[in-house]
């Protein structure tokens, strides 16, 4: 095992331990999406929306840890000077980001787990194995654009401002992206906004694995997600450059 991998794994482990030691972050972040799903996807819709909301709430569940873990987390660490220490330590800068990404992926799995189980047991959702896998991969894919968004916020804003901005982005992406209600219910201007949000395109890809696939090509949505991820990566890089000077 190379030194780079060692460092990355060590940092990931530390990141995970740090996260677990903050139950006030872990519990709400893991519990909120599944509670929402149980309420709207299963109880209020009597199971009728269990399949569509599994697709969209899965994206929602991943968004929380990705945006907040990075956004507010990075801003706090930066304000406390932890990043300055990191910068003079022998660990490469990418391992700091890489570890956070890996930890977020692990976290995402645990956030998705109860929703999937609820959907399958209480919601009666049944999909082909390939569809379950595709759905899960799509939801995990969501870690990347949202983490980069959080990173950009964390580098750009101070700790307090980052929390506010993360909240704003989190709720906008959830509501306007159609994760809570289908965008068809929105006025057409708001529907136009959805097309500019990664959450919408991720939800559409996720829906393509269910029986409620919409007609627009999944390839187009994947292309939009890729473009947005690259743009967000660019923004994160600029914010990183800026805070260094």
């Amino acid at each position: 095992m190379s030194t780079g991998t060692d460092i990355l794994l060590a940092e990931t482990g530390a990141e995970l331990r740090k996260t677990i030691r903050a139950p006030e972050f872990v519990i709400p972040t893991l519990a909120l999406p599944v509670c929402f799903y149980l309420l709207f996807g299963i109880m209020l819709s009597r199971g009728g929306a269990a399949e569509t909301l599994l697709a969209t709430y899965g994206v929602f569940a991943v968004m929380g840890p990705a945006i907040f873990g990075f956004g507010a987390g990075v801003a706090t660490e930066r304000e406390r000077g932890w990043l300055d220490i990191k910068r003079v330590s022998p660990a490469p800068a990418w391992s700091y980001i890489g570890a956070k990404l890996l930890a977020t992926l692990v976290f995402a799995v645990f956030a998705l787990l109860p929703i999937y189980v609820a959907a399958a047991t209480l919601g009666g959702v049944a999909l082909e194995q390939s569809a379950w896998l595709g759905l899960l991969m799509t939801h995990l894919l969501a870690v990347f654009p949202f983490s980069l968004l959080g990173l950009a916020l964390g580098f750009r804003f101070g700790a307090n401002a980052a929390i506010a901005m993360s909240n704003l982005c989190f709720l906008s992406l959830a509501v306007l992206g159609g994760l809570w209600f289908p965008i068809a219910l929105f006025p057409s201007v708001m529907q136009g906004v959805a097309y500019g949000l990664p959450s919408f395109h991720l939800a559409e890809v996720a829906l393509s694995f269910t029986r409620y696939a919409t007609d627009k090509g999944t390839g187009d949505h994947l292309a939009m997600i890729t473009i947005m991820t690259v743009v967000l990566g660019g923004l994160a890089y600029l914010a990183w450059q800026r805070q260094r000077t």
């Binding site: 060692d6 990355l8 794994l9 060590a10 940092e11 990931t12 482990g13 530390a14 995970l16 331990r17 570890a99 890996l102 930890a103 992926l105 692990v106 799995v109 645990f110 787990l113 999937y116 399958a120 959702v125 049944a126 999909l127 082909e128 194995q129 379950w132 896998l133 899960l136 029986r211 409620y212 696939a213 919409t214 007609d215």
Partner: protein
């Protein structure tokens, strides 16, 4: 220590993903049909008998549902304002070869009731029970018809098992049933000068046997007197209306009493009577835009001269009288006869039925519910819940004018929207041909599935004759050649005699692939000979190339460009024939070879 934590967490995550994918429930065997749904809102529906006020037409998984059926969010929604939904039209009299089922569907004919075709056409009829996407009309057919040896129906090149006596009937009907015939069609033309006919005793035996074996039985007749005989014998329906005279009260009363239906085929009678309706279809842009080139040439064709006994005026009078008396009238085109085209001509027939006294709605009924009822086509001909989602949307709001049926907005077949583009590429249906068609070294050899045989106008009632044999002494010192003895005698307007190369089954087409030309060695009675090309789409005179023959061997190279477009994939055969001048001819032919390039010589 931290690294171990990370590895552990990652391993647990991957394990959870794998466990989720494996353990999460899969759907129970998914029902074979998906939830594909099309909803046409605010559309007036002709349900097969009457025109309803604007409402909702729901098509799901290939069937029509009640208008208040639940609509999934994935449904395709069509605004039907200003449109009328008709059940897919049913053509009650067709002959189905080549692209017929595709051609018919482009004009809203979703079901064809065929009155004589080769049973080989029955191979692809899964769509009748299923609801898969298809670009072809459904086919119900009589298959082979019951006729006398040399009688009407034997002149088209399809092998026909004929009947000679009443005791043949039981086995004959059983054979048709085994082949997949949906009903029985017989030909009864007593005293006809052109064709021998079954006698009344044999005809009656066929009718009795068909009924005994549970099959509907219909008849091709020529004259009023034929109809009289068969109504007495218990026929279920006639596939043409008699046009030699106006109907007698006596026959009318008998037809009412026996509940006999009639498929008048007025469009074809009009053609035979020289009234040429084919051109009015060609001139109507609502129809002509969707015709293929071969359909156009079919519509421009004619029978040549009026045939005695086919008077359109009598035919239309009889239709009017029969209809007024309550006799069921069914719309049939008899395509692809000269002057007709699959699909398009049914719209012409509807117009002629209206001119004969049916209202537009009654005419539509004659092309939908009445045919379905008469031929027991369950789930077709109406748009009641549970019926098949074969639907024609027309851009009209009243149907007060029967021509409105030509204003087709869209067509649905099994609930799928039909592509009406005539240029829709056709998957090559024909088998490929090897380059060498005949070398004749050891005998009359031909590629697998093909034969060389004599051909003459005898099959069309002419007096010419031909025979073929193998002879030693071929071109360029080869061992053998094909020898053709031909006698041309007057008796047919365009006499011919010679040798025909083609598939063992004329209904099976081959593909010419990349072949552009043909070469062969020939010598014989000096004159100008002809090569004719045939495809399943050939209507009227086939494409012909002329060439000179001398008493010495010479090599002739001819182009194959007489067949164009889709005809090249529908190659049936070719013939080398003598001039039309009466006389005795003998010619030898050898080394018949297809060429991929034709160099001018």
């Amino acid at each position: 220590m931290h690294a171990k934590t990370a590895l552990g967490a990652l391993a647990v995550s991957v394990a959870l993903i794998v466990a989720l994918v494996i353990l999460l429930p899969e759907p129970e065997v998914v029902e074979t049909v998906s939830g594909r749904t099309t909803v046409v809102n605010n559309v007036r529906i002709f349900d097969g008998s009457s025109l309803l006020t604007a409402g909702r037409l729901v098509m799901r998984d290939g069937k029509v549902l009640a208008s208040d059926a639940a609509i999934p969010s994935t449904a395709v929604v069509v605004d039907g304002t200003g449109l009328i939904a008709l059940p897919g039209l049913i053509d009650a009299h067709t002959h189905t070869y080549g692209r017929a089922r595709r051609d018919a569907l482009r004009f809203g004919v979703t079901t064809m009731v065929d009155m004589f075709t080769s049973p080989l056409q029955f191979q692809d009829r899964d769509d009748r029970a299923g609801f898969a996407e298809t670009n072809e009309a459904a086919l119900f057919s009589a298959g082979i018809l019951a006729t006398a040896e040399g009688g009407h129906g034997t002149q088209f090149g399809v092998p026909v098992e004929t009947l000679a006596k009443p005791s043949d009937a039981a086995q004959w009907v059983a054979d048709r049933k085994a082949e997949g015939s949906d009903f029985i069609k017989l030909v009864y033309m007593s005293g006809n000068p052109m064709f021998p006919s079954l006698d009344l005793a044999t005809t009656t035996a066929v009718i009795d046997e068909a009924k005994a074996q549970g099959l509907l039985v219909v008849a091709h007749i020529a004259r009023h007197s034929d109809a009289f005989d068969l109504v007495e014998a218990g026929i279920d329906g006639f596939v043409h209306v008699f046009a030699d005279r106006e109907i007698s009260d006596d026959l009318l009363q008998k037809m009412i009493d026996r509940d006999v239906f009639v498929i008048p085929t007025l469009a074809v009678i009009a053609m035979i009577d020289g009234k040429g309706p084919g051109l009015s279809v060609l001139d109507d842009p609502r129809l002509s835009e969707y015709l293929t080139p071969s359909q156009r040439s079919g519509l421009a064709g004619s029978f040549g001269r009026p045939i005695p006994g086919f008077v359109l005026k009598n035919a239309m009078h009889n239709v009017g009288v029969l209809h007024a008396a309550g006799v069921r009238i069914l719309a049939g085109s008899d395509a692809p006869n000269p002057g007709t085209a699959h699909g398009a001509t049914l719209h012409q027939e509807l117009e002629l039925l209206v001119e004969s006294g049916l209202t537009p709605l009654e005419a539509l009924q004659s092309a939908t519910a009445s045919v379905a009822d008469s031929f027991n086509l369950d789930g077709r001909g109406n748009l009641l819940p549970g019926s098949r989602a074969d639907v024609v949307l027309v851009g009209s709001d009243s149907l007060g004018d029967i021509h409105e049926t030509r204003r087709i907005h869209s067509i649905y077949r099994n609930g799928y929207r039909v592509d009406r583009d005539t240029a829709t590429p056709v998957a090559s249906e024909g088998v490929g041909l090897p380059a060498v068609l005949g070398r004749f070294e050891e005998g009359i050899s031909a590629p697998e599935g093909f034969t060389w045989q004599p051909t003459s106008d005898e099959m069309m009632g002419g007096a010419s004759a031909a025979s073929v044999d193998h002879i030693r002494g071929g071109a360029d010192g080869t061992i053998g050649a094909l020898v053709v003895d031909a006698t041309i005698k007057p008796g047919f307007p365009f006499p011919w005699a010679g040798a025909f190369f083609g598939g063992n089954d004329p209904a099976n087409a081959a593909s010419l692939g990349d072949y552009q030309g043909i070469s062969f060695d020939i010598r014989g009675t000096p004159s100008t000979y002809r090569m004719m090309l045939f495809s399943t789409e050939t209507v009227g005179a086939p494409p012909t190339e002329e060439f000179s023959v001398t008493s010495d061997w010479q090599r002739v190279t001819l182009p194959l460009d007489g067949l164009t477009g889709s005809q090249r994939d529908q190659f049936v055969g070719l013939a080398f024939v003598t001039p039309m001048t009466p006389g005795q001819y003998q010619f030898l032919i050898d080394n018949v070879t297809l060429l991929e390039t034709v160099t001018g010589d």
